[in-house]
């Protein structure tokens, strides 16, 4: 007969969960709550929190306004940061060519139309979230798979050399602000 241990079973998540929460207000006044571990993924936000001296006591009373990011993108960013808050730290940036596979959960999260993806990258760039930037860029890079240079030109809207030259000529021919 087996005896059940009397030690209470504690979920690992509960132990790791940090009670400190922060409030973020997007440009369209949506309010988001994010944990300390998650917010650390954004260098911009974490620097702001550190510089403002927000602590566990006053964090929720002092929401952080983020003027450059709308609610929709902020929602995606918060979801991403909460999902990856306990990930192991990425190895130091190296200048070597590396390839990585985009996890399925993140691929689903980033299955949005290209206009939204563009805005999300701008937001990610502003908030300085390295991992999300890598993942978003991987999605865009994947558009180049098995494509010819002509197809890449169409996909990425790259003008030909002749178009570039014509644009440059017209820019130099047009009078400047004083002329």
């Amino acid at each position: 007969m087996s005896v059940e241990p009397e030690v209470p079973i504690v979920q690992v998540e509960e132990v790791r969960e940090n009670p400190v929460l922060y409030k973020i207000i997007s440009s369209d006044n949506h309010v988001f709550t994010i944990s300390e571990h998650a917010v650390k993924l954004s260098k911009t936000l974490w620097d702001l929190i550190t510089n403002l001296g927000l602590t566990a006591e006053n964090a929720l009373d002092n929401p952080i306004p983020v003027e450059n990011v709308n609610g929709k993108n902020m929602e995606t960013i918060v979801q991403f940061c909460e999902r990856h808050k306990y990930d192991e730290e990425e190895p130091e940036y190296t200048n070597y060519i590396r390839e990585f596979v985009l996890p399925e959960w993140d691929r689903q999260l980033l299955s949005i139309d290209n206009e939204e993806l563009f805005q999300l990258i701008l937001a990610t760039n502003y908030l300085d979230i390295q991992k999300l930037m890598d993942y978003c860029c991987r999605v865009i890079g994947d558009m180049a798979k098995d494509k010819t240079p002509e197809e890449l030109r169409i996909i990425y809207g790259i003008p030909t050399d002749a178009e570039d030259d014509a644009l440059e000529r017209s820019a130099s021919d047009s009078p400047g602000p004083s002329g």
Binding site: Y96, E99, M133, C137, L152, G157, D161
Partner: protein, 218 residues
């Protein structure tokens, strides 16, 4: 131009003209993000991207990353550039050897880089220059197969600056003699290894003469 080639061009035209591609304004991204996008691409994708325009080529060069090592194999029949870490090989002709899971790029993939009328060696050195500009390497290995290679060919080859700058020179095939050997040994210096394959007793006779050089035996 044969019928199949015309048909293939027509198919390509129709596919590009009528296919609905996803559109993403890459050039409107901030530079840091664009660099991330380029760096997320494979070697062959970056090369294709650099072929779209001069401006894009500049961006690909600015986003370049190092390859740990690169081997240039020069043979009178079929030369290639081998980036083993990235598992890709480049040929300056349309002929190639297929290795298991290596990606292959050949002449038709970057024909605009290479002058159709130039010699095989010129084409290959231009290709090497282009590839190493986009993907510089920490360690460049030059492998020469001297079978059927005349003294003039060898001289022309080792006088090309990009090949002269290699970190390691490996010579295989017919045992180099006289002028060949002198030219090869002149490539030796304190920062470059020279490896001679298929070398046995003959080499020992030369050892005294080349005792100051750095030599590895196989």
């Amino acid at each position: 131009m044969n019928f199949l080639s015309r048909l293939s061009k027509l198919y390509k035209f129709i596919r590009i003209r009528f296919h609905r591609y996803p559109k993403f304004p890459l050039l409107y991204l901030p530079y840091v993000a664009m660099r991330h996008v380029i760096r997320s691409m494979s070697v062959s994708e970056r090369i294709k991207l650099s072929l779209t325009s001069k401006q894009m080529e500049t961006y690909v060069i600015l986003s370049r990353q190092l390859s740990p090592s690169c081997t240039i194999h020069i043979d009178s029949k079929l030369s290639c550039i081998d980036m083993s870490h990235e598992r890709i090989m480049f040929y300056s002709k349309n002929k190639f050897h297929k290795y298991c899971d290596y990606e292959i790029m050949k002449y038709s993939d970057y024909s605009s880089w290479l002058n159709k009328n130039s010699s095989s060696l010129e084409k290959f050195s231009t290709l090497t220059q282009k590839v190493l500009t986009l993907f510089p390497t920490n360690y460049l290995i030059l492998q020469l197969c001297t079978d059927w290679m005349g003294a003039e060919d060898l001289k022309a080859l080792i006088n090309i600056p990009i090949f002269r700058g290699c970190n390691q020179l490996e010579v295989s095939g017919q045992w180099p003699r006289g002028e060949h050997l002198n030219m090869i040994m002149e490539m030796a210096n304190a920062e470059r290894d020279i490896k001679l394959e298929r070398v046995t007793m003959q080499f020992k006779l030369q050892r005294y003469e080349y005792s100051t050089k750095i030599l590895d035996f196989y």
